[in-house]
Amino acid sequence: TVGAVALDREGNITAGTSTGGMTNKRWNRIGDSPVIGAGTYANAQVGISGTGWGEFFIRSTAARTVAAKMEYQHKDVKTATQEVIAEIGKMGGDGGLIALDKNGNIAMEMNTAGMYRGAITDKGEIEVEIYK
């Protein structure tokens, strides 16, 4: 699975996710990636894209829950994302989430050994990481 969240010069956020699903899947199984609110979500405040065990991301409405924690509980993007990944972990699921808020703060959280991830600042500074 791959994903991206961007913040443009007008201050608008977009989140997107694309995947090939799961090896050896059957019965036209679909995971969280194309499900709005589970694998992908964006509003005026934050955008989120997820990767991981799709069934758990769907059941926890992962991406929307990050946004809801920010909207209703006034949590920052990092705390909100960490909490959702922790909740998925408690359910027995695993994976990761990336998020970007309207002020240019990011979160790249996972409960797996690693996640291919990267970010770029408004000045063009690039950060790329793989391992936890």
């Binding site: 007008e10 977009t14 699903g21 799961m22 499900v35 994976g95 797996t112 996640m115 291919y116 970010a119």
Partner: protein
Amino acid sequence: KKYVLVIHGGAGTITKENMTPEKEKAYKDKLTEALKAGYAEIQKGKTSVDAVQSAIVVMENSPLFNAGKGAVFTHEGRNELDASVMYGKNKSAGAVAGVHTIKNPIKAAIAVMQKSEHVMLSGKGAEEFAKEQKLEIVDPKYFWTQDRWNGLQKALEKEKLKKAISQNKKSDYLEIDQKFG
């Protein structure tokens, strides 16, 4: 720091032990290329939708990631793709699921969001819609890669073994660790 773009290329059992320096460099280079592609759109004053599309297309076109070319195989040996997008300004959204011939599913998701009254299209219908929108349609063979094919064969072997063991009423200890997207 103010970030304008963040990306991921999947998560899972990624450790130094199961990575060669060459492979690590290839991943880092491709992630950097995706970031630069998205950043270029923002620098040009384009929308965040354009930035997300450009970044994801780079990763979809690379066999390194499980999306587009390089997608994993279903049990039947097909590559089945899904994608979605959401624009925060007006909460518009689009998605495609279970498609096999759209070269860049993220473009199809964006087309659903911008050019239809729907949010999610699936299967053949989604492919017809993408064709109507003049998106690039490819032979499903385009998505085939040796690595992913080998991955499926391994998973099928494990499944066969697991079935044989459980039929012998022995412990069901073999795990199929191929659940990741």
